[in-house]
């Protein structure tokens, strides 16, 4: 995973609540065996509408997306995170995220930053004309108008993102503990091994 220290740039003031992953990337785009190229399918149903925010030249090249409550709900498809990444989004700011989506975002080095609704309202305003900065070190979101909003992040995820650590490698370093667990259950709960069908 690549390390992420800061994300700075224009933000799309999208603001919609309950954006499900079917909206982020529709099912027909899931028939891929690669992680790349999904940006073209991102928010397809919204982009089909005239004058939609995603094709507004004002926000061309934006690296941040601002959304409403419960972003990324619905299907577990990681394609949603890949699609956002592929369209150049590096961070999403919303009042809350679905559990699965925030996990998927993290695994792909995308920041899912949760801030209270008042902060979102303010950032939605600022984003119309100005860039926004997310600093991982100080865990804060700032604007050129001296706004400053602190956010929290799971310490493990924070460290992985800052240092660009590969999660599988980190876990593999614990293989002794995994083996111990397997040995214990194998004797104490032998039934756990699936019967050969």
């Amino acid at each position: 995973m690549k390390s992420v220290q800061t994300v700075e740039g224009r933000a799309i003031p999208f603001g919609q609540k309950n954006v499900d992953t079917d909206v982020i990337i529709a099912a027909k785009w899931l028939k891929t065996i690669s992680r790349e190229g999904l940006g073209q399918g991102a928010f397809e149903s919204i982009r089909a509408q005239e004058g939609n925010i995603f094709d507004d030249p004002e926000y061309a090249g934006a690296s941040i997306l601002i959304a409403g409550d419960n972003f990324g709900c619905g299907s577990s498809r990681e394609h949603a995170a890949w699609a956002l990444d592929d369209m150049g989004i590096k961070a999403i700011i919303a009042p809350s995220f679905s559990d699965i989506f925030s996990g998927n975002a993290f695994k792909n080095g995308l920041l899912a930053i949760a801030l209270p609704q008042e902060a979102i309202d303010r950032l939605m305003e600022v984003a119309k004309t100005e860039p926004i900065t997310i600093d991982m070190e100080s865990m804060s979101v700032t604007t050129p108008f001296q706004d400053r909003f602190s956010f929290e992040m799971d310490p493990f995820r924070h460290q992985c993102l800052m240092e660009g650590l590969d999660e599988i490698d980190l876990t593999m370093a614990k293989s002794d503990a995994i083996e111990r667990h397997e040995k214990n259950t194998d004797s104490a709960m032998h039934w756990l091994k699936p019967a050969a069908a």
């Binding site: 499900d20 028939k31 419960n70 699965i100 493990f156 876990t171 032998h190 069908a197």
Partner: protein
């Protein structure tokens, strides 16, 4: 005295491999179900890094999402090629990846094939007290047997394949207690739609839900699977129902269930899997079963529910301005007017299937309504898609297939079908579908498709009258 524990906490504690100071834990995964859509990039990742699957014996692969539900073999017994090249490539990838990594694979024309969440319990792969994951959000279904089961993304699929663990933070616990009894003609699907209507699609976010109360104790395993399946639609990553005699009876003798002495040991352990008296839940919700009516959705979120005898709500009736706005958008998409009676809504398509409602009991309920009746003329397309080859065979043995085909339904091969617009089964743009699936999202059943979620019996009733109908009018 030790602290009383919730069922969730017991399962969690039994699977902690390594506890970090920051509260996250490395959790051992006992069961991993793999399907074709969310796995190719995970296998690709393993290959690139030169990693193996740590426990192929704890992993089971089956295709379901992309598979057409038409005949899989021609009259000569040869595989029927899949027309869509991308679907074909995804299916081939799984068919190649599974043996390459030593994973048991149930192929498209195997009688054991079916939707992942139907075959897990059916094969006895899903067991109480286990941790079970799958790259699919409806993995929550397996919680019906008392397994801690949740959907994961593709990177997590790769992580589980490589390490048989996941790095997780413990969720909060939520108790949904349903007291009383469901009325006649009211099914588990009506109940879970009602629950989602009460707590909202974000109501369970960050929680694992445990369903408690007499209603669940007397509910069949099939019904429990329907309820737990839709936990994700209430925002919860997982649902749980404490295993009991019904669970044990259901599992005994299944192909992958423990046998002999293992069964006895398992049973003794499973009997401890209940939330202790006095265990504390972070959130508690109580629902009165008597309040649950035959329920349908009117909008494009599973929380947009209304009793079938009710009316389309007015967007202004919501206090939250963003919900008003969402309701307006939903109504435009759905082609409905505020105040319109749900029972006046005509449907052109009927879909009975999906991991929510494609088990034998669901098919029996629908067939019970359709027996001796025909679909209405305005219903253009009506399909029944059994959840697995075994469900299909059982239904055929009971003569249910004939009831469906006599009523004008198509009888299909198992798969996800019209639950999502990924395979050839789609609802045409602008048309309505009475569907037993779990998501009424915009475009879910095909671009522009208008979905009304409901129970199998209600979908069958809609087929007979050609409009949304209170099934109790048709029960004999």
């Amino acid at each position: 005295m030790t602290e009383p524990k919730t069922l969730y906490q017991k399962i969690w504690d039994a699977h902690v491999v390594d506890q970090r100071d920051d509260g996250t834990a490395l959790i051992y995964i006992d069961r991993h179900l793999v399907h074709e859509v969310t796995s190719p990039q995970a296998f690709e990742g393993l290959r690139k890094a030169g990693r193996k699957v740590r426990r192929p014996d704890l992993t089971l692969a089956v295709p379901d999402h992309n598979l057409p539900t038409t005949a899989r073999l021609d009259s000569q017994g040869n595989k029927v090629p899949i027309a869509d090249p991308q679907s074909a490539a995804q299916l081939e990838a799984l068919e190649a990846n599974a043996p390459a990594f030593g994973i048991r694979y149930i192929g498209a024309s195997d009688i054991n094939q079916g939707i992942v969440h139907v075959i897990g319990p059916e094969q006895g792969f899903t067991l109480p007290g286990t941790t079970l994951v799958c790259g699919d959000s409806h993995t929550a279904a397996h919680g019906a047997l008392g397994a801690l089961a949740f959907g994961i993304g593709t990177s997590e699929v790769e992580h589980v394949l490589a390490t048989q663990t996941l790095q997780l933070t413990r969720s909060k616990s939520m108790e949904i207690r349903v007291d009383g009894e469901l009325g006649p003609g009211i099914s588990p699907k009506d109940l879970i739609l009602h629950i989602i209507g009460v707590i909202g699609t974000a109501g369970g976010t960050g929680h694992v839900i445990e369903y408690r109360g007499k209603v669940f104790e007397t509910m069949s395993i099939e019904g429990r699977l329907t309820v737990s399946n839709m936990s994700i639609e209430a925002g919860a990553r997982a649902g749980l129902i404490a295993p009991d005699q019904a669970t044990f009876d259901y599992l005994k003798g299944r192909p992958m269930s423990p046998k002999g002495a293992d069964w006895d040991a398992a049973l003794a352990y499973w009997k401890t899997l209940v939330s202790d008296e006095g265990a504390r839940f972070d959130t508690s919700v109580t629902i009165n079963a008597a309040d649950v009516a035959p329920t349908v959705t009117w909008g494009t979120s599973p929380e947009d529910v209304v009793p079938v005898n009710g009316n389309v709500p007015a967007p202004d009736s919501y206090a939250d301005p963003s919900k008003q706005d969402a309701a307006r958008k939903s109504l435009t998409y759905m082609g409905l007017e505020p105040g319109q009676a749900m029972r006046d809504v005509a449907v052109e398509n009927i879909f009975i299937g999906s991991c929510t409602n494609s088990r034998i009991e669901d098919l029996r309920a629908a067939a019970g309504i359709l027996d001796g009746r025909k679909k209405a003329d305005n219903v253009k397309w009506a399909i029944v898609v059994p959840g697995s080859g075994l469900v299909k065979a059982q239904a055929e043995a009971e003569g249910l297939d004939r009831i469906f085909t006599d009523a004008g339904f198509e009888w299909r091969e198992p798969g996800c079908s019209a639950c999502l617009g990924m395979n050839p089964d789609k609802v045409p743009p602008g048309e309505r579908c009475a569907s037993t699936s779990n998501r009424n999202f915009v475009g879910r059943q095909g671009p522009g498709a208008r979905t009304h979620l409901m129970s199998p019996a209600m979908a069958a009733a809609a087929a007979v009258t050609g409009r949304l109908t209170d099934v109790r009018e048709l029960t004999r």
